[in-house]
Amino acid sequence: MNIHEYQAREILESYGVSVPRAGVASTPDEARQLAVEFGGRVAVKAQVHAGGRGKAGGVKLVQAPDEAAEAAAGMLGTNLVTHQTKAGGAPVRKVLVAELTDIADELYVAITMDADAKAAMVMASSEGGVEIEEVAANTPNKIVRHAVDPLIGLSPYHARDIAMKIGVPTDLVQPATGLITNLCRVFQELDASLVEINPLVVTTDGRVMALDAKIAFEDDALFRHREILDLEDSEQNDELEQKAHDAGLAYVKLDGGRVGCMVNGAGLAMATMDITKTAGAAPANFLDVGGGAAEDKIAEAFEIIVSDDDVEVILVNLFGGILRCDVAARGIVMGAQYTGTQMPLVVAMRGTNANEGLQILADAGLNVTTVGDLGEAATALTQVLGADGSNA
């Protein structure tokens, strides 16, 4: 789950991480007032769940309150399109107005989960203000990595070592050490999946602070952080993804495809997506209905796929395990009846109660092509999409 920069900033502040003075504005006038409060020279930053705001005009540095209001007026109510947003962009409902600081140096520090280290990993670099992927590609030796010990956490001496290695000036190593330690506390105590400060700045007046902050949370741990759930801005999410999320479905909308996929199991779902290529088409979505899905959940999944305007055919590939195919079939019938769709279905059902499931679909009179496995599914898909499937 992602949150806005202003929310991340508030969390960091509550953990004792230094951040520039700032406030949130929903109107140009509020932005003006904040600029007045901060002495006129401020950054006005569009609050969207996407990187690349700077190049897209979502960050303006201004010198006076009126300019701040003007910048805010130019952002609020629009959709900001960056290289990370969907084509339509993301709606800007709020801007962050932050005091400008005189920057002596821009650094980078982030914490993620590392599967190989089986631990949280601190990544830091002397190269801040640019995307870390660039640094990793061009000058990988400028990235410092340290795995956080599960028993003792991030030792202060390691935090200190990291601060020194990324070039924090000697007299600021101590506050930087505290800052890095606190970032680690945020990551661990709140079950974050990412805490990224880019840039971490050293100011000309001798402070270290988090100038921009990105925090994402581990979805699987949100159940124990109710207060974080309240931070979610569902408007920033894709509408179908949000609907699927609310229904407890793992769904990802994919650009440019016309084959709707309904699968159980993430691996099989990816295999099913990949197989559309064999049919000369492309998947419109990833969808894993999960393990013990009940009828109504399957029905909801079906409705989400059908309500995607890109979808022309639905590829159902279910392998009964915890999921029972008869239950799934009843859910599909329910969804089809509710949406009234006539869309063609290519269906593979195997495993637990597969025959019962296929029988239920047949009895319901849906436009179903039954197939035996993934290979047959590709063939059937080609037929359904027409001879020249590659135009899809």
Binding site: A115, D191, V252
Partner: protein
Amino acid sequence: MGILVDENTRLLVQGLGRDGSFQASSCRAYGTNMVAGVHPRRDGTKFEDEVPIFETVAEAVEATGANVGLIFVPAAGAADAIIEQVDAGLPLVVCISEGVPVQDMVTTLAYIEGKSSRLLGPNCPGLIHPSSRAKVGIIPGNILSEGRVGVVSRSGTLTYEAVMQLTDLGIGQSTCIGIGGDPLHGTTFVDVLEMFENDDETDAIVMIGEIGGTKEQQAAEFIKNHVTKSVVGAIVGQTAPPGKRMGHAGAVITGKAALASEKIRGLKEAGVHVAESAAVIGAKMAEVLGR
């Protein structure tokens, strides 16, 4: 004898709710010797009128000599169940539960280290050994056939797909194992590959990976240096976009190494016979075996 479960398996199932009961039942139906259940407030009762249910794992192990634990408890309590089973000394702990918070696994894996238990999962379908009719998990038994190909996969249902292809082509399986789709899990590809390499019952191996992480590269490295048996590989997620979690917590393209194409390249360099798509895993194995 299978590489991890076989006719000597004495199964304990923890978490006998709706799904756990259904699956425990099918483990038994397949032929697995389930000796104990563990479920709160059902102490003293019996599962299917035959298998005693206990309040704690320690009691169950003490009373029944269980040697494999299977976990179906909800994600929030899964790490605790793993620790309880490890503390009770079960040599093999299989955790099916999906959605375990990754930080729970950080401490749990650190805790297990150096102890005598092996963990399979979480978020895995478990494993099955058809020749001894031992099933520990949720892999549908009817799709398997006895034979000499070992199957290991990060996925659940995709494993079934591959197994079914093999069975349809008359290629039986020795042991079939799902290691799970979470980024942090117990038993890895490398662990299973090593077991298959040393397994008298196994002639060739199917390994199914996916986008995210670098576990497939580690497997490739191991195959190159230590595996003499033929390996057929497949990687799914070629059409997945970067930065999006494809269901499995571990299936996210976070960098170049996490791409399907990179993994396929690594496997090919290690001499693995890579199937062009998941639809032809069985066919690839048939080709490799010269059938």
